[in-house]
Symmetry: C2
Subunit: 561 residues, 2 copies
């Protein structure tokens, strides 16, 4: 068996190592266009931010180590130019010398990765408009930072953009974050993204939302980023992080099938339309685990797994990829933001029926010092309660809860299963009723019909809607500090006594701070024959969903006093 692998980072390196473990006899050649293989892509922003100080730590395996340990013939600075599928060989170019040669294969694994999207904007190819994908990209940005940059523009409010903002902030720079859409983080839902926006604004980052970049120009050693409507940002340099696209040129030239998303089309065994060619990693189109639609989900974990699966199949072991949930997490300043499964936006696009809830628990028992807020959105099927997705924001304990939900999604579990989860509880690490249990309780109560639920978006802007009474069951002190426009206040603990004050002929939209007190209020009112609805997530979710109507300074999770 002679296996050629194109691309030496996550997917390719994993395939090579797995291949060798499965066969000592195989000839395995790994081609990498760049000078480095198997580097820690996800660490690049942190080297720029001087959080990771030792650059060598990012280089997980050198070519020499891959040779020694796995007997892999690693050829860096070597580009595979084309595939001759009939002859089962590739044409290869040594980048340093320009030398060309052919290399034959029995099986070929493509792991070319993805490349930064560079929109057709005047000036985008200037040296002061940088992207971050490779170690060389990282080195360039770090040099620019270390040269004493005072002002930097980050273009694109996705994960990489936010990691850049977070790392650049270590140097006290003036940071501008420009995003074409009216909000950051396009892969999560806007009311969750709003929480993150508020946080980064509070840290002095200047947000330019809904502003596509019109052009770049250099003047007197500075970069001018021109935004919509004559607005300009003059800065030392810009980091362009508006997403990546699959690197498919080699596959396209070879006539391999490309999927509707633009990624290389593969079957469940990671095999392309040519049975002797596999493809893995950011370049391939995967099946979305929730929607079953083709999707591009460029994540290191998936690339590693696919590399392993492709190698298994190359060496005669049937091994299948189950599709991708797209579990992602990013830390930006004090907040961690995570998501798994489908967002509400994606479910809508896919036409999948869903219900949603919001809750605002603390990461661990409140009586133990240092507890902090969590904002938790759960999406599930109204038919059977199957969990479809979650988005979680908080200071601590976010990664744990998103991982627990990721497991639940993988296993096809329901909100009823979440009620029953037995998670580890010690006061500094959790709660006897963990946020995940609470999510299960809230959603189950809705599915069982115990609590009619509606959302911030259902609250009429017109405060005078005669058929609706908006009821705030928080304390009068909380009420006075800000409420939903037009809401009347009856604190929960007075509700039974004052129930006569409520009209029998109106719908009552009930809320509290987070949703727990209003749930109890709902139960009281419903059992007393009133038509009552709970505004999911209470005032906190209302304020992040409809910031034009109400604002509270508790939206952003923080340590509880």
């Amino acid at each position: 068996m002679k296996l050629l692998i194109v691309g030496g980072v996550a997917g390719g390196a994993s395939a090579a190592a797995r291949g060798r473990r499965l066969s000592e006899q195989a000839e395995i050649v790994l081609f990498e266009k760049g000078p480095y293989i198997s580097y820690a892509n996800c660490g690049l922003p942190y080297y720029i931010g001087h959080v990771i100080e030792d650059r060598n730590k990012l280089l997980v395996f050198t070519p020499e180590q891959m040779k020694k340990r796995f007997n892999i013939d690693v050829r860096t600075s070597t580009e595979v130019l084309r595939i001759e599928r009939q002859e089962k060989r590739v044409e290869v170019k040594k980048i340093d010398t320009g030398e060309l040669y052919m290399e034959s294969y029995d099986k070929l694994i493509l792991s070319p990765g993805a490349e930064p999207i560079k929109p057709l904007i005047p000036g985008i190819d200037g040296t002061k408009v940088m992207t971050l994908r490779s170690v060389q990209d990282m080195d360039k940005i770090r040099v620019a930072v270390d040269a004493g940059a005072r002002k930097v523009t980050v273009i694109g409010g996705g994960y990489i953009g936010l990691e850049m903002v977070d790392n650049l902030s270590n140097f006290g720079l003036e940071i501008h974050l420009v995003e074409m859409l009216p909000r950051i983080m396009p892969l999560i839902d806007p009311e969750i993204a709003f929480i993150v926006q508020e946080h980064i604004k509070s840290r002095g980052v200047q947000l330019h939302l809904g502003k596509p970049v019109q052009g770049f120009k250099e003047a007197e050693g500075r970069l001018v980023v021109r935004l919509h409507r004559y607005e300009e940002i003059e800065c030392n340099f810009a980091v362009l992080s508006v997403g990546v696209k699959p690197s498919t040129s080699l596959a396209v030239k070879a006539g391999l099938d490309i999927g509707p998303t633009g990624g290389i089309k593969v079957d469940d065994y990671m095999r392309t339309s040519d049975p002797d060619i596999y493809a893995v990693g950011d370049a391939v189109e995967v099946k979305d685990f929730i929607t079953s639609r083709p999707a591009l989900i460029p994540l290191a974990g998936l690339a590693n797994r696919q590399g392993r699966i492709a190698a298994d199949n190359v060496f005669g072991r049937a091994s299948k990829f189950r599709g991708a949930q797209g579990t992602v997490i990013v830390k930006v300043f004090d907040l961690t933001v995570a998501s798994t499964g489908a967002s509400e936006i994606k479910l809508k696009e896919a036409g999948i029926a869903y219900e949603k809830i919001y809750l605002h628990p603390t990461n661990h028992a409140q009586f133990y010092p240092g507890a902090s807020d969590i904002r938790f959105k759960l999406l599930y099927s109204p038919e059977d309660g199957r969990i479809l997705g979650a988005q979680i924001v908080g200071v601590d304990g976010v990664d744990k809860r998103v991982d627990v939900i990721a497991m639940a999604i993988q296993a096809g579990m329901t909100v009823f299963d979440l009620e029953e989860c037995e998670l580890a509880y010690a006061p500094q690490l959790g709660a006897a009723k963990d946020p995940v249990n609470m999510a299960g309780f809230v959603a189950s109560n809705i599915l069982k019909g115990d609590c009619n639920t509606l959302f911030a978006s259902d609250v009429p802007v017109d405060e005078q809607n005669p058929n609706i009474l908006v009821l705030d069951v928080r304390t009068s002190k909380e009420y006075q500090q800000g409420t939903v426009p037009g809401a009347v206040n009856i604190p929960l603990d007075e509700l039974r006594a004052r129930i006569g004050e409520l009209p029998k002929d109106k719908k009552i939209y009930c809320f509290c701070r987070a949703g727990l007190r209003s749930y109890i209020a709902n139960r009281i009112l419903k059992q007393n024959g009133l038509e009552v609805y709970n505004i999911s997530g209470g005032y906190l979710t209302f304020c992040s969903s409809r910031p034009e109507m109400a604002y509270c300074d508790e939206i952003v999770p923080k340590k509880v006093k």
Copy 2:
């Protein structure tokens, strides 16, 4: 409906609140023997340790609050003396006045909890031998600490004992931990407990293992704890934490069925042998989720859930308890120790076939600063790979991994599913191949026959066993710092070149530090026709499993340099 509830802490308070949410009309009376209801039992050690400074924070709901919010008739300092099942009423005693009265019920929920086990040891009832179960117990111990105690003996090395050690250490006391068994933490396996032992020893705690207390006596205001063999500890006071037993006297007097473990017998609906009486919490016997055997698993989360389930059933909603996994976690000094599902000991006792692996990953990507070690034991079925249990020790990220495994157990997932988990990865929070994925890989490799595995216990004490060669594939530097007695050293990266040095007629027991390099070595040797076995968990697990044979100072997880 008139519902009486006996016991106002976790299970009882949950049942009361849930009952009210289900029925505004019901009359609900909650009896509690002590002065407090709904307090945070798990917080008690931390108030003693001055970690929690505000005592009121431990009192989650006062009787007044329960009345206001849930319209519950709470009667504290009130003991239910007996149940007249025929008449469906209970006899009640006001503790302060001695007044007796009868109270009738339609349904009765018992949540009497558990009480500290007090072995029949001379002097155990002295005032300087304290237990920790209630708020009053806590107050007493805190007074004793704050009075300037210099030396304290903790008896019992279980969870509460360790939390006491941890909290007492905040005052620079001399702490003695006495345990009857030859090791601490009887609910987890000894080689994992050994790691914790080493850690607490390194923090100056004096361990007295395998030493049952023979007696207590007071002398000159001090307590003398007499151990086995004339050994005595003179101290200011002792905390006795040798476990709890279900409080069943009321149920026993009423003739309700008691299970073989000594807990109140209930069905899946939390109903006792009397259809109008339910029982929940630490007093009941539950079904072990893994072994299906009856078990006592006194945990707050379970009590809460059972209270909710009992209330559901009382109010006409069929609601079932699925059994208990027993997920537990404890923090002691720098370490967090957690467990879910069955231990190896428990599986052996239950006669359930199992396989096990050990791994030693870091909590997050090693290239990001602050990574720390994790020690991870996974138990699974050799037939289908179903996960049976896990034990995890580390500095950070332990709670997350045990929760992920808890979900996998709940869902009936296998080690093959663990390979596929899509967990959140950012460099400061995880790894592209998370420890959970790694556990899946290791176990799957074994089940697929890629790697023959054996354990520290299989290594012969006699170094001269002529049929076995113990092979250390770490670097020669690592080898020189300590190895398995009799092991020969061929570093992994030299193995292909030096394979001729290995005997074809011997079994090769191969190991490295943690198991990854030796797995690669196994693949190399196996494919070259040698009979090779991997010692699971490598030198680290060897040293904690057989400390009499080898020692290394890396056993205890710490931050990676």
